[in-house]
């Protein structure tokens, strides 16, 4: 009997051992698989463009200060001594710049003093040497990160980057016998048991770093016996497979160390930046002890929650380090007396959400979501956060202003409210500086710049006039008389927005005043097929039909396409590719993708110049002349647009430096009861007044192929002495009038011959 029992016991024991071995083998495979592959998901980060500053630059001080704050520069009362500090006074700001790391551009941080004179940068000098800085690049701003479901932020570091003080601090705080045990520390368990029994409370845990790693990496956090057993087995397996330093490195990168909003701060690398705004390798002893002290309760001991509690915990770690012999008396004394100084952080709402959505649609064609969420890519864009902020503010305030002025525009439900959209571009390069796709992203993520299709109305007219330039000139006469057209057997009677006595107008005046009748007359004379052919080249995605109403913009466009098309006038006839994504690098900084400006000639510089000249008249004398009263005193070309029943209000305005399109309307096509010049134009003006760094007050140089001539104001033909009123007008070289005005007394024979023999272009001053 006894023998049978013994045999059974031995058999059971053997079975348990075999089971244990098999289970351990299974766990070891799991451990190897987990640690062999990519150990962590690192979110990809989207960055804005760099910001360029130079002496003499106009600047919006308020937006600039916000920019510095967004870049993580914190205000100090002393002269900045460390990277990331700034000291602001009324006429200057001293900044200790962060290092700049961007594709094709790296720069070490240094202290710089920027002096202001009213709204201009007067001088930029190095604060250490006094040397003048002719051009300063501020680092790209972090806009957002693509997190996986775990939403962990982590900056990976190797064990060699971690200072010895931090390693000792962590070991002293959590596992002083790390290099002596083999995954489980029975002495540590007993010591913790003794301490806890002695104090009648759970003061110490007996878990080793390896056990903590096993728990965090493989197991769920519930406290059960089975989990504890698994944790113990895993710890032994990890210690058997990996070296101590490797285990420590994984631990230091894994450990949870705090919370920033909904994002968890993991690993000492990220914690170092989060708490002290510095790389881990530069941590001081007190800072290292602070971070080590956080492991036990990051949100309890955080310096952002309670500095005294944080200091107490830090000092306990320092004492533990001293007891272990890792720091001497002097170091201990100095560290104990150090203040707890943290960097501070800003919890910001989603930045440029519509721009990010637009960018994301491009990124997902290149990289699947699991790559974006985990491989730690850096994505550099064209976004200018100051312009973005200015655009968002201008739109918000502009729409509120409209609602206040007209109660009929007010809506209770958020999704039914008056809407608007803005896109800002640099026309020569195609850089997209800002996208505001709607009034409130939280209410509606629908991007009215890239996704909506709305009728442009009169904002389309420049494309009709461009088509006409082959055969017509700005001085050509057009009929502004009401005419009834028969379209598919039905009468169509276009009307001017306001009645006009002028039955015959010049092409320039027709565009300046946005006369519908004259524009339709022009379109008829040019040929609708030719206009459609022109718009095809501008890559409008909506197929157009050859109806006369096409000339008045009675078809739909995507606002992004319209803005891009206007860039042709602003950029010497070149159509730019609208660029938002510039570079993508991997987590090591290796360039994976690069996009440059891309241009294509669509029309001649001469034609583009003539259209810009006519659109400048729109601003100086036409439907956009109210811009002057809104502080826009520099040369601007632009076009207002208003559709039938006032469903859409547009203003597209540009200079050689910047182009912005503003649209206002209701998503459900309700009327806004007002025009582009009343609804959209003021928003454009507010935006431009907020970004003085983009205002050079320059205008276009007259290109070859453009001729200036004096013509009769009445006939549009060459002026002579008999013409009571004449004006200077510009023409394509091939379309210069050669006939004298027949309405007034004719010139003499000699003058005719003289004019006929003149063949050369001549430039005149603007």
């Amino acid at each position: 009997m006894f023998k049978k029992l013994l045999k059974l016991t031995v058999l059971i024991f053997i079975l348990i051992c075999a089971g244990l071995i098999l289970y351990s083998w299974y766990l070891s495979v799991k451990v190897e698989k987990r640690f062999a592959g990519r150990r962590w998901s690192i979110p990809s980060t989207v960055f804005s463009d760099i910001t360029i500053l130079y002496p003499g630059q106009r600047i919006n001080r308020s937006l600039f200060n916000k920019k510095l704050n967004s870049l993580g520069y914190r205000e100090v009362s002393h002269n900045p001594r460390k990277k990331g500090e700034k000291k602001t006074a009324s006429t200057k700001v001293t900044i200790y710049l962060h290092d700049l790391k961007a594709p094709s551009l790296t720069r070490k941080g240094f202290p710089v003093k920027i002096r202001f004179l009213q709204n201009k940068i007067e001088a930029i000098n190095r604060a250490d040497t006094g040397k003048s800085v002719p051009i300063l690049e501020l680092e790209p701003e972090e806009i957002m990160q693509f997190f996986g479901p775990e939403r962990e932020k982590r900056h990976l570091v190797s064990i060699h980057q971690v200072p010895e003080d931090l390693i000792h601090a962590v070991l002293a705080a959590e596992d002083g016998r790390f290099y002596k045990h083999h995954g489980i520390d029975p002495r540590g368990i007993l010591r913790a048991l003794y301490t806890n029994l002695r104090h009648g409370a759970i003061l110490q845990g007996g878990s080793t770093l390896t056990q903590q790693l096993a728990k965090n990496y493989f197991l769920t956090p519930e406290r059960t016996i089975s989990r504890k057993i698994n944790e113990a087995i895993l710890s032994v397996i990890i210690e058997a497979i990996y070296e101590k330093d490797e285990i420590l490195e994984i631990y230091l990168n894994e450990i949870y160390l705090g919370q920033k909003g909904s994002i968890s701060i993991n690993g000492v690398g990220e914690a170092s930046f989060f708490y002290f705004d510095k790389p881990v390798s530069t941590l001081s002893l007190p800072e290292a002890a602070t971070i080590a002290g956080l492991i036990k309760g990051p949100n309890y001991y955080s310096p952002y929650v309670g500095k005294s509690r944080c200091k107490e915990r830090r000092n306990m770690v320092l004492h533990a380090m001293h007891r272990k012999g890792w720091i001497n008396n002097d170091k201990l004394k100095a560290a104990l007396s150090a203040k707890v100084e943290s960097a501070g952080f800003n919890l910001q709402g989603k930045k440029a959400p519509y721009f990010i959505d637009y960018l994301y649609r491009q990124l997902e064609k290149l990289y699947p979501p699991e790559v974006l969420n985990s491989l730690g890519l850096s994505i550099y864009t064209t976004l200018d956060t100051q312009v973005q902020a200015a655009a968002e503010k201008a739109l918000k305030e502009g729409l509120s202003r409209l609602e206040r002025s007209n109660p009929a525009l007010r809506r209770k439900k958020g999704e039914e409210k008056l809407q608007g959209a803005i896109i800002v571009m640099q026309p020569k390069t195609g850089y997209i500086l800002a996208v505001v796709g709607g009034r409130n992203y939280t209410v509606s993520q629908f991007n009215r710049i890239t996704q909506s299709r709305r009728q442009p109305g009169s904002a389309f007219k420049p494309f009709v006039y461009l088509t006409a330039l082959n055969d017509f000139t700005p001085a050509s006469r057009l009929s502004n008389e009401p005419i009834t057209y028969m379209i598919d057997g039905k009468p169509w009677e276009p009307q001017n927005f306001a009645p006009s006595d002028e039955l015959v107008v010049s092409m320039r005046l027709a565009l300046t005043k946005s006369f519908n009748l004259a524009t339709v007359d022009l379109a008829r004379k040019v040929g609708l097929d030719k206009i459609i052919k022109t718009t095809d080249r501008f890559l409008f995605s909506t197929p157009l039909k050859p109806y006369p109403s096409l000339a008045l913009g009675a078809f739909e466009v995507i606002p992004l396409e319209l803005a891009r098309a206007y860039c042709v006038f602003a950029a010497d006839g070149m159509l730019p590719y609208p660029l938002s994504l510039k570079d993508v690098t991997d987590e090591n900084g290796k360039l994976l993708k690069q996009k440059h400006m891309n241009i294509e000639r669509l029309t001649s510089p001469a034609k583009a110049f003539i259209i810009s000249s006519m659109l400048r008249s729109v601003v100086s004398e036409g439907t956009a002349r109210s811009l002057i009263g809104r502080g826009i005193s520099w040369p601007v070309a632009g076009k207002t647009g208003t559709t039938n029943n006032f469903r859409d209000a547009w203003f597209v305005g540009y200079t050689p430096d910047i182009l912005a399109l503003v649209w206002v309307g209701f998503d459900n096509q309700d009327s806004i009861f007002t025009t582009g010049s009343t609804a959209a134009l003021p928003i454009w003006a507010d935006l431009m007044n907020s970004v003085p760094q983009y205002v050079s007050e320059n205008w276009y140089k007259i290109p070859p192929g453009v001729v200036k001539e004096t013509v009769c104001s009445e006939s549009g033909l060459l002026a002579h002495k008999g013409c009571p009123e004449s004006m200077e007008e510009i023409f394509l070289k091939e379309n210069v009038p050669t006939v004298f005005c027949p309405i007034h007394n004719k010139p003499g024979l000699f003058r005719k011959i003289f004019k006929f023999m003149r063949k050369d272009d001549y430039d005149t001053k603007n």
């Binding site: 020569k428 390069t429 440059h596 294509e600």
Partner: protein, 135 residues
């Protein structure tokens, strides 16, 4: 001074006077240095843009066309009317063997620099190189 000596000195002076225009007309030795920038740095924007143009040129000399394009794009954003930036952009795209973009930028350079003969020559030479690439 005797008459003969006076005449002799007059001849020397005359010879020197005649030579001066000839010296002035002598073609300068050909150097690889680019012609002077047509931009008069009269505005802070232009001055800042020139800094970036120089960055772009330096990067081209180092054989880094992509980095050069970046710098030159920034230069254009600051000073869209600079023909020099378009010229160097064309050069960068030529270095990348992309004839289409090289051609577009060279054409733009031609428009902006048509008043400067030294640049016109360089642009014409660049046009030839682009045409070679297109073949």
């Amino acid at each position: 001074m005797t008459m003969t000596l006076k005449i002799k000195w007059l001849k020397i002076l005359l010879a020197v006077a005649l030579c001066l225009p000839a010296v002035g007309c002598m073609k300068p030795a050909l150097t690889p240095e680019p012609p002077p920038s047509p931009e008069s740095p009269s505005t802070p924007r232009v001055l800042a843009s020139l800094q970036l143009t120089e960055q772009g040129k330096s990067l081209l000399n180092k054989g880094k066309p992509d980095a050069a394009i970046r710098a030159l794009e920034r230069a254009i954003n600051l000073n869209p009317g600079s023909g020099e930036n378009f010229y160097y952009l064309s050069q960068a795209w030529l270095m990348k063997e992309e004839a289409k973009q090289a051609k577009e930028f060279n054409n733009l350079a031609e428009i902006y620099l048509n008043e400067y003969p030294e640049w016109t020559v360089r642009i014409a030479r660049q046009k030839d190189r682009i045409q070679e690439l297109e073949k």
